[in-house]
Symmetry: none
Subunit: 208 residues, 4 copies
């Protein structure tokens, strides 16, 4: 599958991301997409082949570059815990910018996995896990992280906390008294991120 898209394709992908985020994959029709993107209905099939292949392209489009960012992070000259914190920052930032696609990737895909060719996404997840593993093992060999950590369960805690917060946006807006969109986004950037960082740090360092 090609990974480069022209302007019109990108336009479609952006609209698709927004709508998928708002209404889910099944809840979004290509009519919706074409109407908002102001393109002909046939364009989606024409450019991407089908609605499902549009999703695949969207995944490819929006996840490109993450791997490089992680590799760069690993090679930075930072303490392990600082790398972890930066990685959490990176994750939340990226996902926050690409809400639609990540929501779909993590929560809609299980049922469609037989249909979608998402090996590339699986590879991405494995790569991410490897990066995390690398950082944690570095911390362990430096004697600052506990030895008995189940590394694959770290990511669910990082991303799961964030997603759960996002998915229950109206609820948290109410009980945390976040009245504007910017207050909400600031809360994510500051308080929620800090909470996740604190949680992971405690888990990595605290001796039960």
């Amino acid at each position: 599958m090609k990974t480069e898209f022209n302007d019109k394709q990108i336009q479609i992908l952006e609209v698709a991301q927004t709508l998928f985020a708002e209404k889910g994959f099944d809840g979004t029709s290509i009519r919706d997409i074409s109407k908002i993107a102001k393109i002909n209905i046939a364009m989606v099939s024409y450019y991407f082949g089908s609605k499902e292949r549009l999703l695949e392209s969207l995944v490819l489009f929006k996840t490109s570059g993450l791997k490089e960012q992680l590799v760069n992070l690993i090679e930075e000259n930072l303490e392990p815990i600082e790398k972890i914190n930066k990685l959490i920052d990176l994750y939340i930032n990226r996902i926050n910018c690409n809400r639609g696609i990540y929501r779909i990737l993590h929560f809609e895909i299980s049922s469609k996995k037989h249909v979608l060719d998402l090996d590339s996404f699986s590879e991405l997840k494995k790569g991410n896990l490897k990066s995390l593993e690398h950082i944690i093992q570095e911390g362990q060999s430096k004697g600052v992280f506990r030895k008995d950590i189940v590394i694959p369960l770290i990511t669910p805690t990082i991303l799961g906390t964030f997603f759960h917060f996002q998915m229950n946006k109206p609820f948290f807006e109410e009980i945390l008294n976040l009245k504007t969109e910017s207050q909400y986004n600031n809360y994510i950037k500051n308080d929620l991120t800090k909470h996740i960082q604190q949680t992971i740090k405690a888990l990595l360092i605290y001796e039960n």
Copy 2:
């Protein structure tokens, strides 16, 4: 909205839960439900009014009793950390048994909130939060929990970790080498639950 359902309604609700879990709300048609539940297509609209109101009923039906369980937990004679552990156990157990509905509640509902009357669910979440608050404050006054905890963010970490694991089932089955359904379920009951408990304990107790 009434909270009692007859046998046929319950039958529909159970099938709906299963299918919603498998294919999502939009991905499930009334036809699917009526075929598997072996009832007439018109029954869903007849009994519940519409597909969306069916979902509301499902929420009501499946979340009833949780509040009582939490209140009972609070009143047990246990150490705060033991209460937290038990609460995590309780959550994961319940959600694991009612996968469909919880998945929908947490990840599909935001987009439908304008349509669904989910005040009752919001109330439930607030009640849950209150129970958690109660336990944590008990631990704080006993001097075993840190004072600077943002309590509303504890639930996202507990549930988010679990959901993220669930939603990426195929991925974790592969990298954790869980070959059978029972191995997978055992991993949740033992390892994943322990991971979450450990995480929350570290967060509550560890002084940064």
Copy 3:
């Protein structure tokens, strides 16, 4: 598959036959059918499941009864050659009344055979062949028909001649100077039928 149809289904089947005859199976849309039959577009799928299953139903509907007619013919007290002539009459008459379906059966189905469940039609053809066989063997044992006849090739000559005439209707209207529909139909009933009867008789009796 059920073989009884209600009024509306029959109405659809009749319209389908006409349109299939005029424009072929692929050339006819269910929109065309529904418009002319003055029914909702969804009715076709609703009643028959799909366009292809509509064709199957049409085959079933229009071929029913033929077998009985042939069996009755066999048992009549007639000379073999008279039975053959009557059988040709019967064929041409039936097919002429159900042009659409027979045309499709003989000329469109080969490419669709993997899709259509037409065992029943194949059975019909075998039954017809058996009836023909029976009559010819009777004639052979009476000493009036030749012994070296390849019976399965008789039907292609009977039906093929008729179909070829039909399919080239405009051509034959021109060269035979058949100006009205009734002239054309009369030509089939009299001259063409006689030609086919004469041909088959010559083939069955004439010693090379």
Copy 4:
């Protein structure tokens, strides 16, 4: 309409013939043709004007030369019945090599007659008929053929028998136990051709 085609046009025509034979005119899309012929989608419209005009060109392309063959046949020094037999051979051979186009010409064209400019094809048929007429009249004047023959109905019997056999290929493969393609083709070349020749001979000679 021009009757000469360049290499690319011929390539398209060959592919079109194959696909029309397999799936019918309506069942074949320009996309199918262009994909298999490995040419641009727009080429068909560009070279031939439209899909229907492509069919017209195909007819022209594939029927050219037949007339000459027939004229040559007439002028050969053969007995009338031998000419008839040779003509049947010629027909079946040609048609067998150009199955697609003849099938369409005889069975799909009636419905499209308002659209297709097939005067040229009609001329061809008239020419063929004239050749047949010539041979038969020769036989009649030699006293070997009956005088009361309806000549225009001879062709339907020759071609119709063959087409009907072809169109019901799976059926005849089964009941005649023709297991391979070559067995099937041999049956046509030998048995079916002989059957048709015998039939026409009987018709032409046998006095009722």
